[in-house]
């Protein structure tokens, strides 16, 4: 079995190599800093530099207020910028890549515990080369979210309830879908309470179980309190979604909307409207994978993957390909499906193919392809 140190070295080298390739591809697109910072990246960078402001100042913030974006990742960019003196875009990329290395290695530990037959090296290669995996290197919240999710699940597996709750609190300050882990913490606490129902010291058990429940939602609660103080609306992050084209109509409405649009042709026009059917197809694929996970009794994984899809799908279709393709559980499921490929030659072919497609996807990102936002 490969040692963790070897895997850490291989992962770091691969991530560094792919950033170098991204920089090389970015040369005709104005250089890495300009090319990599597409779509929401600008919002995170601006938040890191300027923070949130009230709506009386919103006209200085861009076309709409920045309240929809959660604070943890911009705070990390701000910290990294202060520490390294790098430009915020580069600091954001540095943070994202370090967190990505952390996620891949946490994934190795998780895979060894939950899928003992899966080769950890295959996981490392897959995570680095998966076509949408480039998003983990972009100044976005994906790598932070994935690392915290796996960290919380690992803590739960070791029955470290308070640690899991602390990581969930950070997750809730990263993205709205962080709240999906709260029911998982609740279930783990309930299981502990049931298991120790005959223990002599019930007071101690109750304290051990209730404190994590108080800690887990803290990230969201503090963000709500902050938004109330600055903006005057504790749910501003939710209400402002309307200005991002998100309207609560339920997942079924948007699925039907996506299928009935049947607008695959929009994918060929990078300047046109994004294809609703393409976004819908990713949502259905993700839900299918969640169903497979549930059937294999991986209930927490199925819940987290399905929730990551259904929650945003209830308000719109956009960004769903990214939400699905960067979910750790979708990645684990895809990697497990590739596990039967054991011959070195076929693995090399697979790695080459995935890497090539990822390169093309990166070019799509650099030209702001509407299939990738």
């Amino acid at each position: 079995m490969l040692r963790m140190r070897t895997l850490a070295l291989v992962t770091s080298a691969l991530v560094l190599a792919r950033v170098v390739v991204y920089a090389w591809i970015a040369v005709p697109f104005g250089g890495l800093t300009d090319a990599i910072c597409q779509y929401d990246c600008g919002w995170y960078i601006r938040l890191a530099v300027e923070g949130y402001q009230s709506d009386s100042q919103w006209d200085t913030l861009g076309p709409v207020p920045n309240w929809a974006f959660f604070p943890l990742y911009p705070l990390l960019i701000r910290g990294a910028t202060a520490l390294t003196r790098l430009a915020p875009e580069l600091a954001g990329m540095l943070v994202a890549n370090l967190l990505f290395i952390g996620f891949v290695l946490a994934g190795v530990v998780y895979v060894r515990r939950t899928r003992p037959t899966l080769d950890p090296m295959l996981w490392v290669l897959f995570a680095v080369l998966f076509p949408f995996g480039f998003t983990f290197s972009v100044p976005y919240t994906e790598s932070l979210f994935a690392l915290l999710t796996i960290g919380a699940l690992l803590a739960l597996q070791r029955e470290r309830l308070l640690l899991a709750a602390g990581l969930t609190a950070l997750l809730c300050a990263t993205r709205p879908t962080g709240v999906l882990l709260i029911p998982v913490i609740l279930a783990a606490c309930a299981a502990t309470l049931w298991r120790e129902r005959h223990a002599p010291d019930r007071l101690q058990t109750l304290g051990r179980v209730l404190l994590p429940l108080g800690v887990a939602p803290l990230g969201l609660s503090l963000f709500m309190l902050y938004q109330y103080a600055v903006i005057g609306d504790a749910l501003a992050f939710n209400h402002v979604q309307l200005l991002w084209g998100r309207e609560w109509r339920g997942p079924l409405y948007w699925l039907i909307d996506g299928i009935s649009a049947w607008d695959w042709g929009n994918m060929l026009n990078p300047n046109g409207y994004p294809s609703k059917t393409y976004d819908c197809a990713w949502a259905l694929l993700g839900l299918g994978v969640a169903g497979v996970l549930a059937r294999r009794r991986r209930f927490a994984e199925a819940w987290l993957l399905a929730g990551t899809i259904v929650l945003p799908l209830s308000t719109a279709l956009h960004s769903l390909p990214r939400f699905v393709a960067t979910s750790p559980f979708f990645l684990f499921a895809c990697c497990t499906a590739l596990a039967p490929i054991s011959s070195l030659r076929w693995r090399a072919v697979l790695a080459g193919g995935l890497g090539l497609v990822q390169g093309l996807v990166v070019v799509g990102w650099y030209i702001s392809s509407n299939a990738l936002y």
């Binding site: 005057g232 504790a234 609560w248």
Partner: protein
């Protein structure tokens, strides 16, 4: 004795955290100025439109903002 104290400390901390967060949630859900009650969160999407229409946030950007934008609580 030490473990009993620790159990009480944990219970007290948990109670304070849960009550405080319930209050924050209530602040968001029940504030009539911004959210028109709990229904604004998910159930009736049309209710969500009300506060921000009042605030005259008009797509696509700053050039379209009228000078008479309604101020918020914080201003």
């Amino acid at each position: 004795m030490h473990s009993v104290l620790r159990a009480y400390w944990r219970l007290a901390a948990a109670t304070v955290l849960i009550v405080a967060q319930a209050a924050i949630l209530a602040l968001g859900l029940l504030d009539p100025h911004v959210s028109k009650g709990y229904r604004s969160l998910f159930i009736d999407h049309t209710m969500m439109k009300v506060p921000y229409e009042d605030h005259t946030f008009i797509w696509p950007g700053p050039d379209t903002v009228p000078e008479t934008a309604v101020p918020t609580k914080s201003s």
